[in-house]
Symmetry: C2
């Protein structure tokens, strides 16, 4: 069941002698085709979530399966193996940070991983994901984890087989992390997450004793849904999201998707009150979208032409959502606009009160509704449970108890019903390892923001004046323009002077919330 | 420059001995992939016309080029050649009209044509089309044919090369017709079009002398655009267009596009008056869409899983638009709805008067605005000019004069400015031969309608009562369910008892318009 290693696929025939960089040029052509197939699949996915009529399900599944299979076949072909070899000589003298050397380095890493995973395992995982989805929906509806246990067991087994196929030195989770956040390890993530836990659990409990110090009743007031969408669109355009290279639509779950830097779309959903309005979630998605819009054309149609990793991507969405969109200065600019759009709800509310309300902390069961203080704890408990499952310390049937123990310790809450416990996310239908990027993103967002504040002293005054171009320019220069050239640690170190670290986030959180709650 | 003929590509190795129909099964798999690629390209095209932001142009062109190249490569591969051979034995004993034998017959024809056209010619044509488009736009804007002459010369030369590559017995146009309307020839089309000309030119001139007998002033009255779209949607849903397997959107030019029978979309455009409202154009596109929705799943993801030809397709759109949507009984049902939607414009107008107004005949320069009587004459003159160009009887520079002579003879109009003459359509940017289906479609629509009336005696009363299911059922049974299994003549003969003929259309036209104008 082991895949043919890349090296053994390389034919000896190198073709005609190189002129200029024919290997690299041809490699770019093939990678361009793969990118076109992936981007076409992205258009089909966007359409599926926003426009497709119910009758389209069967045809669309066929089309997406064919596109992803062809992209995979093209990328893992012997031609790519040969071109990676021949292009190696052509870029040997170029600096590691050049576009060319980076293209080869990253493509080799992707190729090495792709050829290690047997085709049968890829299709088993796709099938398992498709099979598990309705099972999960049913189990969630009935709030009964036991119904989901067999599907979850398949997810765990497949994730172990995936880790074995990819290979790892110490722990199976290392292989899964290397796929998405190359250079990081399970142990390193545990250390970072440990720092998060040590800082936030006491804060959660301290805030819980002084809940009454922030009144968030205004968040339950009504908020016209059409005006939400308009105001969200105007707001993200002011932040720097280019609507000539994107658009905003409605969908059941908000997401951002790129078909190339000239067309990066986001979706949103509305709710009847300020608490579930689409404004902050649109800012979040616009953070993702501005990242993709900022990847330069010089990297286009290659494995470098997107954000560096899920963690880096989440750093951009969370930076704009939290460090900007939940900051006090931002409400100096936004709040008059909010009040203008919803006078009947906000007439008697001052900016300061609204800002306090939308930063209220309240431990709850649902990750996607969590505030800045508790959010990471939801991620941490999933990461811990996934490791325990992968390393055989926890049986699938016992997940609800393991969940309950952590919810009690971290959030001070009783055991939730399964629906609001381990059945709340779709992520466990098919694979483990999908949560790490969320908390890494929070850490990186604070680290980047601290560095941006060092370089750009007047940021808060700019936010208050509605001038977000300096911050966006800084992110373009230090993050976006590199696309996927560097690993998360390399990129963060280039931007901030240090690899990923928890200190800036801990400092940010402590300062903001001890202040807000007067602790 | 000649392509490798299909037969010489067939390797001798037939693989393992057949069990069941392994050749046919594998052929279906490969054809399914090709269909998925083509349908994915259709989704990207639809998105381009309805949703894509301006920044998406460059990326989208790359994606579409890659998808169509891969579909072509996959379809013309040596594997398909081999499978067409091995499946031949498997279907040898099946009747010619079976799905299996039809699949093989039609795929062989497509394959034979596809491998005859050199890849260079395909890409030259694509490039020429892309290059000619802005030249045409500029020439049309300045109303100056001479600016378009070089691009048109390329179109003519490429069409001749295409005809030579495909091969023909008598006339170069035969090769172009065989591509889209297999089984028909230039001479046969000339005969049919000659009958059209003989019947309609005298009618045009007779009507012109009695123009005042139909008052169409009401068509210039205002017609709220949002309500147009709503009423059009309700109307096509009543006709039988399934909105659970499709949707209606706005675009600059109305079109219908299929991503499979479960998702067939149409677009429309609105105007400020009844004359340019979207209701009849939506019925037209719904005619195309109901055809694609009616192709059975058993033919899915093969070259049979779409309408039989452009002519047959146009027969469906024109049947619903004209034979239903411009018929007197239909206004018994539609007109109260129209009046309800636009009371301020229609309060003082009776159904009979509105029906007469929307059937007014007036010779004009623009094909897409033409009435039922003059429409075909626009097509005929283009067909004649294309043949004269291909066969060297006419120089590209002299097209406006050739156009003017025919406009005078057929329509009784003076020479138009080039903008409203030979520069009005986009069709001549890249290839000739795109107009034949429009008039064939008109002929076939009348022939099918006459047959349907024989089989279903109460049709007019049903239209008046808003019951369109019997007619749609008849079309499903006699046309839609066959997909692309039969040639246009074969299909029309199965449905009506005779190959394509002009008589039913001539009878329909004469009866309707001599009555309307009291001639």
């Amino acid at each position: 069941m082991t895949a043919t290693p890349a090296a053994s696929r390389v034919p000896q025939d190198e073709g005609p002698a190189p002129r200029g960089a024919p290997g690299l040029d041809r490699l770019r052509d093939v990678l361009g085709e793969v990118a076109d197939l992936e981007r076409a699949a992205a258009v089909l996915t966007w359409d599926q979530e926003t426009n497709m009529p119910p009758g389209g399900v069967e045809d669309r599944a066929n089309q997406l399966a064919t596109l992803s299979r062809l992209a995979h076949e093209r990328f893992t072909s012997s031609e790519v193996a040969r071109l990676l070899e021949s292009a190696g000589a052509e870029v040997a003298s170029m600096p590691a940070e050049s576009d060319e050397a980076s293209l080869l380095r990253v493509t080799r890493r992707d190729f090495g991983q792709a050829v290690k995973v047997p085709a049968e395992l890829v299709s088993e995982m796709a099938r398992a994901a498709a099979t598990a989805r309705p099972v999960w929906q049913d189990a969630r509806e009935r709030s009964d984890w036991s119904l989901f246990v067999p599907a979850m067991q398949v997810t765990v087994d497949l994730s172990r087989r995936l880790a074995d196929a990819l290979g790892y030195e110490e722990r199976p989770y290392d292989a899964l992390i290397e796929l998405t956040e190359p250079g990081l390890t399970t142990t390193r993530v545990e250390e970072l997450f440990g720092r998060i836990k040590d800082a936030s659990v006491p804060l959660v409990h301290a805030i819980d004793r002084h809940r009454d110090r922030v009144d968030d009743a205004v968040m339950a007031r009504p908020c016209d849904e059409r005006r939400q969408v308009e105001l969200a669109r105007e707001t993200i355009a002011c932040l720097g999201y280019d609507l000539d290279r994107g658009r905003q639509d409605l969908s059941v779950h908000p997401f951002c998707i790129s078909f190339g830097p000239g067309d990066v779309r986001l979706t949103t959903r509305t709710g009847a009150t300020f608490r579930d309005s689409c404004i902050l979630s649109s800012i979040h998605e616009a953070g993702h979208a501005m990242y993709e819009q900022g990847v330069p054309r010089s990297l286009d149609r290659t494995p470098l032409s997107r954000g560096a990793s899920p963690g880096l991507h989440e750093s951009q969405s969370r930076l704009w959502e939290n460090m900007v969109g939940r900051s006090r200065p931002f409400y100096g600019w936004l709040y008059p606009r909010l009040k203008g759009a919803f006078p009947e709800s906000l007439d008697d509310v001052e900016a300061e009160a609204f800002w306090r309300a939308c930063n209220a902390v309240r431990a709850s069961y649902i990750r996607v509704d969590a505030d800045e203080v508790t959010y990471n704890l939801h991620v941490l408990l999933r990461f811990e449970i996934e490791n325990d499952l992968l390393e055989g310390r926890l049986a699938v049937a016992d997940v609800p108890e393991a969940w309950a123990a952590r919810v009690r310790e971290y959030l001070g809450l009783e055991q939730p019903p399964d629906r609001e416990g381990p059945l709340q996310d779709i992520h466990w239908t098919g694979a483990l390892g999908g949560f790490v990027g969320y908390s890494l993103g929070n850490l990186i967002s604070a680290q980047l923001m601290a560095a941006a504040r060092r370089d750009l002293p007047g940021l808060d005054a700019q936010f208050e004046a509605g001038d977000f171009a300096p911050l966006l320019g800084w992110l373009r220069e230090h993050v976006h323009r590199h696309g996927r050239k560097f690993t998360p640690d390399e990129l963060v170190e280039r931007a901030t002077g240090s690899p990923i670290t928890a200190e800036p986030w801990i400092a940010y959180l402590g300062e903001k919330f001890t202040g807000l709650y007067g602790l």
